[in-house]
């Protein structure tokens, strides 16, 4: 037995005596698997009367198909008018397009395209593309804030970062990265590395033009290509850069004070 609701509605009306299509009346040699009936013997759907109550709460009055729109409820819903000239809706739509057509010559709002690359919109400060390493001062090697603590490497979701820490002549870790590679074919620019970095050493760049003619090596950015000065960081995101500077300065002062205290204690 087929329940009424299981049949596909055709053109909006339920056709009561129409059996749904089943595998048997198709002359295909079973290439397309098809199932329409979901009945299993012994399981029947609850009575239609019961089902109709579901979902349509009593609190909302049943108004389908008969009620006229209540005024002011929703101004632009097309009313159930007895007759409207066919074509009037299309004409209305054509007025809209005409407004945009001619409006685009006068109104900046109707012509929002920017002529890239001659015109470029400055991305907002928070905007991000891929990470870069911040260094203080002028020397990218000496001023690098990164201490090769591997936090970002561990937290990077697609594992795009690989770090090898440098060791001094005694074989002790030198708190500096020897290798800091980001595979930008893997990096998804999620900024989790910048978020978890305890030293504010890695930040998100605005730079977007990564295209190159070379397929593989140019996709792995090394330490030299990733290092950018703090001044650059100020140009792309001065709010964050200033905050970071203040934070680092406070840290430095605290450490200085602690060192002096220790020296005084000695």
């Amino acid at each position: 037995m087929t329940q009424l609701y299981q049949q596909p509605r055709i053109n909006g009306s339920i056709q009561p005596n129409q059996e749904p299509v089943t595998d048997t009346d198709m002359s295909l040699n079973g290439t397309t698997k098809y199932h329409h009936e979901t009945e299993v013997s012994g399981i029947a759907d609850p009575a239609p009367a019961n089902r109709l109550s579901s979902g349509v709460p009593d609190a909302v009055p049943e108004t389908r198909l008969s009620a006229r729109p209540t005024a002011g409820e929703y101004g632009n819903t097309p009313e159930r008018r007895p007759f409207r000239l066919p074509g009037s809706g299309i004409v209305q739509g054509m007025m809209v397009t005409a407004r945009n057509w001619f409006g685009s010559y006068f109104d900046r709002k109707r012509l929002v395209t920017v002529q890239y690359p001659e015109q470029q919109i400055r991305p907002p400060e928070n905007s991000r593309s891929i990470p870069f390493l911040v260094y203080d001062g002028d020397d990218p090697d000496a001023g690098l804030r990164c201490v090769a603590c591997h936090t970002c490497e561990k937290e990077c979701p697609p594992q795009a970062i690989s770090i090898v820490g440098e060791r001094d002549e005694n074989g002790k870790p030198a708190r500096r990265p020897k290798v800091f590679d980001i595979d930008i074919s893997v990096c998804m620019g999620c900024q989790i590395c910048a978020e978890v970095c305890p030293f504010d050493a890695i930040k998100m760049d605005h730079y977007l033009d990564h295209s190159s003619l070379e397929n593989f090596q140019s996709l792995i950015l090394g330490k030299t290509r990733l290092s950018k000065s703090n001044a650059y960081f100020h140009t792309i995101n001065s709010t964050d850069a200033t905050a970071v500077d203040a934070r680092l300065e406070a840290d430095r002062k605290k450490k200085e004070a602690a060192r002096q205290k220790r020296a005084a204690a000695k």
Binding site: V60, T63, L85, G93, N100, W101, V114, E118, Q120, R122
Partner: protein
């Protein structure tokens, strides 16, 4: 932070001027042609006066120029009258082809620009000034593309389809009256010729669909056949009313019947009569369907059939189809101008100093713009609705229009005609529209809201 004009850094004031190779080629061509003409010393003596005369008398200009050219050929090159006749035909053909070729290029650009403007974009503006050389770039791109014929395709049919498509589209251009005395072939049964040849397009589309050996193509071709045959009937019916009124199947006679102004300023175009306006609207809708223009572009309905009968075409063959479709659109819009919009006649008596052929092309272009505008607005209609619309609305309405035209004629084509013919058109329209609206449109809905 927000997109403001002040935040847009203008690195350069305008796109940098680049001289595309196409420009260089064009300039070289002009220089070489000029030099070649000058080598024959007789040329300036004959051609320049003709050109001067043409400038002084712009409405006769095409004929004068052609006469001058023929004179030049007669004196310098050809003596046999047979070949002279042939040359005369060749000149006409070459003019028409280049004219419509330019119009095709221009329209393909204008279409993209207008669609872009409708959609709040710029459209092509990189190739040449204002993107004017975009059609050339497109053409070069099309020509150098690989021509792919699918394995299992009927190769002959696949190859012939674009040819069969483009030839009738070009042939029908011959009977259109572009201006007074500017009809390439003055056929007394021009309208009949137009529809007879126009019907050939269906064969071409079906050849493309069948020959491609692709399911999408086949479905597209099936749609095309059904659509074109259905819409040819209202097209012919509405044209029939005009033929009845003009009493002739000759396009020139039809245009001449629309000359003159009533009350001194209202042109006597058929589109400005109660039956004519209805016939014109029906004709234009059917013309859109015949030319496969949106919203009747079902044969290549890209949302379901990828590109319909064009799916398996690339390169030059595709370009040919493209050309044929545009030429077909021009031809049918040209016929609409001839039948309803007074052909070469100016809309106002004071504007008659402008040559007729300019009026013709202006009207033609206006219709093409309207088609583009419609394309920018409406979604595609569905197959069964399309057939329903043709057979249950357009064809009965076409018959009614014939009746109304007769009533208009016998009531003297004046105010009495308006009183009698208007209800004859309007009442059946309302009844038919009611049938349409009951079936499809205008059933507004109310929505309930739950406050939760």
């Amino acid at each position: 932070m927000q997109l403001e004009a002040s935040h847009i850094n203008s690195h350069a004031t305008a796109p940098p001027g680049r001289l595309p190779p196409a420009v260089a080629i064009a300039i070289a061509g002009i220089v070489l042609t000029g030099a070649g003409a000058l080598l024959n010393l007789k040329a300036p003596g004959i051609l320049l006066p003709a050109a001067w005369e043409a400038l002084q008398n712009p409405s006769e200009a095409p004929l004068l120029l052609k006469g001058g050219l023929l004179d030049y050929l007669e004196q310098g090159w050809i003596s046999s009258p047979f070949f002279l006749e042939l040359a005369s035909i060749q000149i006409t053909i070459a003019t028409l082809l280049s004219l419509f070729g330019i119009l095709f290029a221009l329209t393909s650009l204008v279409e993209r620009k207008v669609l872009a403007r409708i959609q709040n974009r710029y459209g092509p503006n990189r190739v040449g000034p204002c993107g004017l050389f975009q059609p050339i770039a497109d053409g070069i791109k099309m020509l150098i593309k690989e021509d792919i014929v699918p394995r299992g395709a009927d190769k002959t049919v696949h190859l012939l389809a674009p040819v069969v498509m483009v030839v009738p589209a070009l042939l029908v251009l011959a009977i259109l009256p572009y201006g007074p005395g500017l009809t390439p072939v003055e056929l007394s049964v021009g309208i009949l010729f137009f529809f007879a040849l126009g019907a050939t397009t269906e064969v071409a589309v079906f050849m493309a669909g069948w020959g491609s050996n692709n399911k999408y193509s086949l479905l597209g071709a099936m749609r095309a056949i059904a659509q074109m045959i259905s819409y040819e009937l209202p097209l012919i019916l509405t044209a029939l009313a005009v033929v009845m009124m003009a009493g002739s199947l000759s396009p020139v006679a039809i245009v001449e019947a629309q000359g003159g102004y009533s009350m001194g300023f209202i042109p006597d175009w058929f589109a400005l009569t109660p039956w004519g306006i209805a016939a014109f609207i029906l004709f234009f809708i059917a013309a859109l369907a015949e030319a496969n223009r949106s919203p009747f572009d079902l044969p290549e309905g890209e949302s379901e059939l990828v590109a319909g009968h064009l799916t398996e075409y690339s390169g030059f063959k595709y370009a040919t189809f493209f050309l044929a479709e545009y030429i077909g659109l021009f031809a049918i819009c040209g016929l609409a101008v001839t039948l309803f919009l007074g052909g070469w006649h100016a809309p106002l008596p004071v504007l008659e100093f402008i040559p007729g052929y300019i009026w013709f092309f202006l009207k033609l272009f206006a219709l093409v713009l309207a088609a583009i505008w419609i394309r920018g607005t409406v979604p595609r209609i569905r197959t069964d609705h399309l057939m329903y619309f043709a057979w249950k609305f357009m064809i009965p309405a076409g018959f009614v229009i014939i009746l109304a035209a007769a009533a208009w004629h016998y009531s003297g084509a004046g105010w009495l005609g308006w009183i009698i013919a208007t209800p004859i058109v309007l009442l059946p329209y309302l009844i038919l529209a009611r049938g349409l609206s009951n079936r499809y449109a205008t059933s507004g809905r109310t929505y309930r809201f739950s406050e939760g």
